[in-house]
């Protein structure tokens, strides 16, 4: 499977923050969830991919083309949903259609209006009068209406109620259904990603802590909770990170089955992405 988005050793230096050697790869037809806490570098990475900021070093390839030389040709294949970056809010959906018609060759007015209707967004209404959820949906619809091959989203479901989030995730899954479209989305609503993401990339303080398939994480990683006695028996090589709590030890384990065979921990649970994030960020003795 060809990679639709390939980031190699991307670095960006700011005064107070550095994006350091970011590398990951998104194959075609897949959804990659990009997780990390606020300020970890998610938005910076996305801006670098979109050439909104200039990278200090590294290579980015989109649809097989280098961003340095062929970005102009691939731009029309990218649909973008950024946090709080959109059309001036005194414009309406109808006016967006008028503007985009002459901006993207592949703009599909029929599809745009169909989606507007599906989500009950009035074409004549000014953006500023829409609710937050409607506005986000409009941003996503706008990104989809020119039939891009790659959708890049920065926190697309941020601040939305569960119903709106569900509708949007459904849209995303429909988008990738035919196997030729892909999505790269950053989010800190990890429960969304646990369901639909094929790949998860975890960034923390400007560095990639892990980039694996969702199944590898959800099926193989685990959280073991055990007493101090059990903890003392665990070999350092068999865990990624741990945290000493008041009444127990929490251990992040990379290979559930192997760990289960070797140790008799009181509790060995399937992990959630939230717990993964917490243990990797706040845990002691992290090895990656």
């Amino acid at each position: 499977m060809e990679a639709i988005l390939e980031v190699k050793n991307l670095s960006k230096k700011y005064e107070n923050f550095t994006l350091n050697n970011i590398s990951f790869s998104l194959p075609q037809g897949m959804i990659m969830g990009f997780i990390g806490e606020n300020g970890s570098g998610k938005t910076t990475t996305i801006k670098a991919i979109l050439n909104l900021i200039h990278k200090s070093s590294g290579e980015i390839e989109i649809l097989g083309q280098s961003q340095d030389t062929h970005f102009d040709t691939v731009q029309k294949e990218i649909g973008v949903v950024l946090d709080d970056m959109f059309f001036p809010e005194i414009l309406s959906a109808k006016e967006i259609d008028l503007i985009m018609k002459d901006t993207y060759e592949t703009w599909d007015s029929t599809y745009f209006y169909k989606l507007l209707k599906e989500f009950s967004i009035s074409p004549m209404q000014q953006i500023k009068t829409l609710s937050k959820g409607m506005r986000k949906k409009l941003e996503i619809i706008t990104a989809l209406a020119h039939h891009p091959k790659l959708l890049i989203c920065d926190e697309p479901t941020n601040g939305l109620d569960p119903i709106a989030r569900d509708e949007i995730l459904r849209l995303f899954q429909e988008f990738i259904e035919d196997g030729t479209h892909s999505i790269f989305l950053s989010s800190h609503i990890t429960s969304d990603l646990e369901h639909i993401a094929d790949y998860i990339t975890f960034i923390h303080q400007g560095q990639i802590l892990l980039s694996k398939t969702r199944d590898e994480i959800m099926d193989k990683f685990a959280i073991a909770k055990c007493s101090e006695n059990t903890w003392k028996q665990i070999n350092q090589k068999d865990y990624l990170s741990y945290k000493k709590e008041k009444y127990f030890y929490e251990v992040l384990v990379e290979d559930k089955k192997a760990f289960q065979k070797k140790y008799n921990c009181e509790v060995l649970d399937t992990i959630t992405l939230d717990e993964l994030m917490l243990l990797m960020i706040k845990g002691d003795d992290l090895k990656c």
Partner: protein, 210 residues
């Protein structure tokens, strides 16, 4: 790029109430008074275009449009073209309005003088555009505003001082041939500073981190 031109016109249309008010005031003043307000409409159009910059910044439109195909260059080009269209349109409207006014008031119609005034207005507003836009692209509207205001003020003052200090007609009479070609010279000058300003804006904007 056509889409981006549309965008600014749509923005102006949606916020045109203040513009209409000024237009009405202008029409009224022109009708009852003797003073020359022929610069107001074209000047307003540049100010309104600056307002579109303000809308753009507020909604982080700059970042969004940079993701469009040829977004950055298209955005700059569209801004310049839209502003020029507006300046020309408002100058023409002003011109025709003045002709009508003169006919109503039964005053002597000096077409050439009127045309010269229109050209002068166009040139002045284009100059303001050429100074302002690269500044706005480089420093953002807020910071650029003060600078532009100062520059325009100083320029206006300088021109005024120059005009009163030197008897322009005397000089022009001395340079008879120049009198004939000052129109094409002005047009050429306009094009040159426009091109300069445009390329500076493009360069600044393409490097900007959004």
């Amino acid at each position: 790029m056509l889409g981006l031109i549309k965008k600014d016109f749509l923005l102006l249309k949606n916020s045109s109430k203040s513009y209409l008010l000024v237009l009405l005031i202008y029409l009224f003043l022109g009708f009852i008074g003797e003073m020359d307000f022929s610069f107001i409409l074209p000047f307003m159009s540049v100010l309104l275009m600056m307002m579109t910059f303000s809308y753009d910044t507020f909604n982080h439109w700059d970042s969004y449009v940079a993701t469009f195909p040829k977004g950055r260059a298209g955005s700059v080009r569209a801004k310049y073209i839209t502003t020029l269209i507006l300046i020309l349109l408002t100058s023409l409207i002003t011109f025709f309005f003045q002709v009508i006014l003169i006919c109503i008031k039964k005053q002597p119609l000096e077409l050439v003088l009127l045309l010269e005034k229109m050209l002068g207005t166009i040139f002045t507003t284009i100059t303001i555009l050429c100074i302002s836009y690269p500044a706005i692209y480089k420093f953002g509207l807020e910071k650029a505003r003060i600078g532009i205001f100062l520059v325009v003020f100083v320029l206006a003052f300088a021109v005024q001082a120059l005009a009163s200090a030197i008897d322009l007609n005397q000089i022009l009479n001395g340079l008879a041939f120049f009198k004939n070609i000052w129109v094409p010279t002005l047009i050429l000058l306009s094009l040159i500073i426009l091109a300069l300003s445009y390329f500076i804006s493009l360069k600044v904007y393409s490097k900007k981190e959004l």
